[in-house]
């Protein structure tokens, strides 16, 4: 009974993905901690960190898919929410360094001492408390998205216009965070973290812990997305995506639905950023670069927009490809990435998952007694 309900909730791809994530959650720590170094199945700690990074990107991809795939809002600025969450986390980690910094100031982070600042700026207050930082991880991107979305959706800025101003938003934030006067470490960003909640960030166990936390967060994000998508609200979102004016004429307050999903999505991206920062050990304004946000969109497109599992596959898959290419043949990576953009939009409008389900349908249609469903024609 429960398994049937679960299956209804996740669908086959979702169930397979959850199973895969569970396998990863068990296997990776085992391969890293228990297996001998010489073993073929042994995983280096660096590989664990890399996997953790991919998982964070997968969460970001999920958040983009939620707004783009299900509500038709193409955000070219989700990297901004990701980075804001990362900065909130980074600020806590900076405060936790305490007297172990280069200048040994108990309150001021190193870069502030370096800039001859006398006291902590007001917006750094409270970040020494872990719970406060965690609240800010979702609240900072959430409130920015809420204000931005409320303005944009109310005045019915849609389609490419919205995409362009989200890009302008992240670009403006990038310029702002590059300034030393902003009080976020300027060019260098926040780095040199020591530990989180007392656990040494360099320790193997902490890294495994963060990795497991990332898997948990990804599963939670998936469940949240799935809950939204399957609910009645999700149906309205799809209606907005496919025919916004029509939905409005029927009587739905379109902007409220959009605003809700937009804000949730931004918070999710913030969580992804917060998990990302302790694993890579740095956050700098480069994360706000518009190119990063667009790259994140292509993860979703590759996996298949409008399919949550596709976003996760895209987020992890494209980044694995990136790691491989930039290591092996760096000059080819931009060709590959650019080619991917063009190829996917031209030939795989529904991504990898869309391709798979098309194949399945064709096979079903070619069998004489198969249930052969007609492909649903959807408006882009």
């Amino acid at each position: 009974m429960i398994t049937k309900r679960l299956f209804e909730f996740t669908g086959l791809p979702g169930l397979l993905m959850l199973l895969a994530l569970l396998v990863l959650a068990v296997y990776v720590p085992y391969a890293n901690l228990v297996l001998e170094k010489g073993s073929a199945f042994h995983l280096d700690t660096s590989a664990v960190v890399l996997l953790g990074k991919y998982l964070c990107f997968a969460i970001l991809a999920l958040s983009i898919d939620l707004v783009w795939g299900y509500c038709g809002i193409l955000s070219l600025g989700h990297g901004a929410f990701f980075a804001l969450g990362g900065y909130a986390m980074g600020m806590h980690l900076m405060r936790e360094i305490g007297t172990r910094g280069v200048y040994g100031d108990p309150i001021l982070p190193d870069f502030m001492v370096f800039l001859n600042w006398e006291e902590l700026p007001w917006f750094w207050y409270g970040f020494d408390q872990f719970w406060f930082a965690m609240v800010m991880v979702v609240l900072a991107p959430g409130s920015l998205a809420f204000v931005f979305g409320a303005l944009a959706f109310r005045s019915r800025v849609t389609g490419v216009y919205l995409s362009i101003i989200t890009q302008a938003l992240t670009f403006a934030l990038m310029l702002a965070f590059f300034r030393n006067e902003m009080g976020f470490g300027g060019n260098n960003g926040l780095t040199d973290f020591k530990d989180v909640l007392g656990f040494d960030l360099q320790a193997q166990s902490t890294r495994i812990g963060l990795y497991l936390l990332s898997i948990l967060a990804l599963i939670a994000a998936y469940v949240v997305c799935r809950l939204i998508v399957l609910s009645r609200l999700g149906k309205v979102l799809i209606a907005v995506r496919d025919a916004e004016s029509r939905t409005r004429f029927i009587g739905y307050r379109v902007e409220h639905y959009k605003l809700f999903v937009w804000t949730v999505s931004a918070m999710m991206a913030g969580v992804a950023g917060a998990l990302y920062v302790p694993q890579v050990g740095i956050i700098n304004p480069g994360e706000f670069a518009p190119a990063n946000s667009i790259e994140a969109v292509i993860w979703v497109a590759v996996g298949g927009r409008g399919t949550l599992v596709g976003a996760v596959i895209g987020g992890i898959g494209v980044n694995m490809g990136k790691s491989y290419f930039t290591g092996a043949i760096p000059e080819l990576w931009l060709f590959a990435l650019g080619g991917l953009f063009v190829f996917v939009t031209l030939f795989l409008p529904k991504g990898i998952l869309g391709l798979l389900s098309n194949l399945k349908r064709k096979r079903a249609a070619s069998e004489p007694d198969g249930p052969g469903t007609e492909p649903v024609k959807e408006r882009a």
């Binding site: 490419v160 403006a172 025919a243 650019g338 882009a380």
Partner: protein, 558 residues
């Protein structure tokens, strides 16, 4: 020793300072004695500078000083090289015949030049020539003599330089020379500077108050930083009516300086605006008219810049004399190259994505990455050097503004490009077809317009214009594979701000954003200014989602 009593009156009334005049009188008296002693050698009285200069051979300081004064008295600017060499210590005389030469080290000992004709006069051994020695007080004399001579030069530029030099030194001894020069001056521009220099010198002298007040007014007539500093320098010591006059003059100069600085800001703003316009103008076609979100637009600009680089490379190695024309040659080539790349992109990718703007955005972003990496692979990731032709370097003054030719040309170029585009769209059959296709594709097709072909040409036109923008931007930006990236967001902002589908909106949008940016900069700094402009646009779009000049009529929405 060619020197006669007949020169004395000239010497006394000559255009030299009071002090040197007094000295001349006493020197002349002693010289009379000398003359008597050398009675046998006295020649016909002559005041030609050649003969005066001959006396420099073996002269002591006093004698040299006297001769310099006399040369100054002749007012003959032919003596300028001689005096300049003298003050620099390059003037020598040959021991064998006491002839005077400008000498510089070279050959066996010295290379000799005739100080009057400038012609080479052979070489001399190190021991064959002796330097005409000068000391510091003599150098001062020579300089003021030089000032007097150059003020009377036949070359207006030399006179202007001399007057400007006095304006800087504010030497009271130059007043009389200036008086003479002003009386003789025919060029209004030079005369103005001379009068200013005279006024500055008067303020520095011990003239009476009323003269000085007149001088203050003269100086305040042209309100620039120099006038302000001259006035502030004398304000310290002045009192009474003079002080009041100076304070008033300083206030008026400062007010007018503030006005000019506003004008300068507007100029910088227009200059930035024209750059934005250039970058956005092609996008106004592809995005504004066709509705294609071309994220590879910046790369078209980059291609144009690289075409300029290639043209200059070829010219450098093959035909250096064509360098000044390099940009003109690059323009059509950049247009064609970028246009062809644009048509290829349209035919290869974009035409399959019409009606799916978000996918177009992603695909063209991918193309931009590919184009960047291609250029990086071919030319390397570093900045390429693109030179400026001579007609684009330098600057000129307009009132209190300093305008560089490069910026002026870019503004002119942006406006001309814009005008051409408007003409193409409004007055040619291609433009007519373009507008027809974008307004109603099926109807246009029914009328016999080959819509797919028109799409390709329109996109090619937009890309080509981005290419020629690249030629202009190569002059002010680093030509690197990332060139386009820095313009893409700005370009979209301009087009969206101005109103999509409206060329005039793009023009107004670009120029007003440029000016806004430059006016924010002094208060907020360059980066914060840019951030504020971005925030302003984001908010503006909330208020007017269709831009500044939205197309009227029913919006085609779903």
């Amino acid at each position: 020793m060619a020197f006669g009593i007949g020169d004395l009156p000239r010497m006394i009334s000559g255009p030299v300072g009071l002090a040197s005049r007094l000295r001349s009188v006493t020197l002349a008296l002693t010289f009379t004695v000398l003359l008597v002693m050398q009675a046998g050698s006295v020649q016909a009285q002559s005041n030609s500078i050649q003969e005066l200069a001959a006396g420099l051979a073996g002269a002591d300081f006093n004698e040299t000083s006297r001769i310099v004064d006399q040369i100054a008295a002749t007012g003959d600017s032919g003596a300028v090289p001689l005096l300049e060499a003298l003050v620099a210590g390059d003037l020598y005389y040959r021991k064998s015949d006491n002839a005077i030469f400008i000498a510089e080290r070279g050959g066996a000992g010295y290379l000799l030049t005739d100080p009057f004709s400038g012609a080479a006069a052979g070489e001399a051994g190190r021991r064959d020539v002796t330097k005409v020695r000068v000391n510091n007080s003599l150098r001062r004399d020579i300089r003021s003599a030089l000032g007097g001579l150059t003020l009377m030069s036949t070359d207006a530029d030399v006179r202007l330089d001399a007057a400007s030099a006095i304006l800087k030194s504010r030497d009271p001894e130059a007043i009389e020379a200036l008086d003479q020069a002003i009386a003789a001056e025919s060029d209004d521009g030079v005369k103005l500077v001379m009068e200013r220099a005279r006024a500055a010198a008067i303020l520095n002298s011990d003239s009476d108050e009323s003269t000085k007040i007149v001088a203050v007014e003269t100086i305040a007539q042209k309100a620039d930083q120099e006038a302000r500093s001259i006035l502030l320098a004398v304000a310290e010591e002045a009192d009474g009516a003079l002080r009041a006059a100076i304070d008033k003059a300083v206030a008026s100069v400062e007010a007018s300086l503030a006005l000019w600085s506003t004008a300068q800001n507007i100029w910088y703003g227009l200059s930035l605006g024209s750059v934005l316009l250039l970058a956005a103008i092609g996008l106004a076609i592809t995005f504004g008219v066709m509705g294609v979100i071309n994220m590879a637009h910046g790369e078209m600009v980059m291609i144009g810049a690289y075409v300029t680089f290639l043209v200059q490379e070829v010219i450098r190695t093959q035909a250096p004399y064509l360098f000044d024309a390099s940009l003109l040659i690059a323009l059509p080539l950049a247009f064609v190259t970028a246009g062809l790349v644009g048509i290829a992109i349209e035919q290869g990718v974009i035409r399959f994505l019409y009606g799916r703007p978000l996918e177009t955005l992603l695909a063209t972003w991918g193309l931009s990455l590919i184009l960047q990496q291609t250029v990086r692979t071919i030319f390397g990731p570093t900045n390429q050097e693109v030179g400026a032709p001579s007609w684009m370097s330098g600057a000129f003054e307009l009132g209190g503004l300093t305008l560089t030719y490069g910026r002026v040309w870019i503004i002119v170029f942006a406006l001309v490009t814009f005008a051409c585009l408007v003409v193409v769209l409004r007055r040619t059959s291609l433009g007519l077809q373009m507008r027809a296709v974008t307004q109603n594709r099926r109807m246009a097709g029914s009328m016999g317009i080959r819509t797919t072909w028109t799409d390709a040409l329109t996109f090619g036109l937009g890309s080509g214009i981005a290419g020629i923008a690249g030629v202009a931007l190569s002059q002010i930006d680093n030509v690197s594979p990332n060139l386009g990236q820095s313009y893409i967001i700005d370009s979209f902002m301009v087009v969206v701000f101005g109103g999509v589908g409206n060329l005039w909106g793009t023009l107004v949008g670009a120029l007003s954003l440029g000016v806004l940016n430059k006016f924010l900069e002094p208060y907020a700094g360059a980066v914060l200014g840019k951030i504020l402009v971005l925030v302003f646009i984001i908010l503006f779009i909330q208020k007017r989602p269709r831009g500044l000049f939205a197309l009227k009529g029913r919006a085609v929405d779903q």
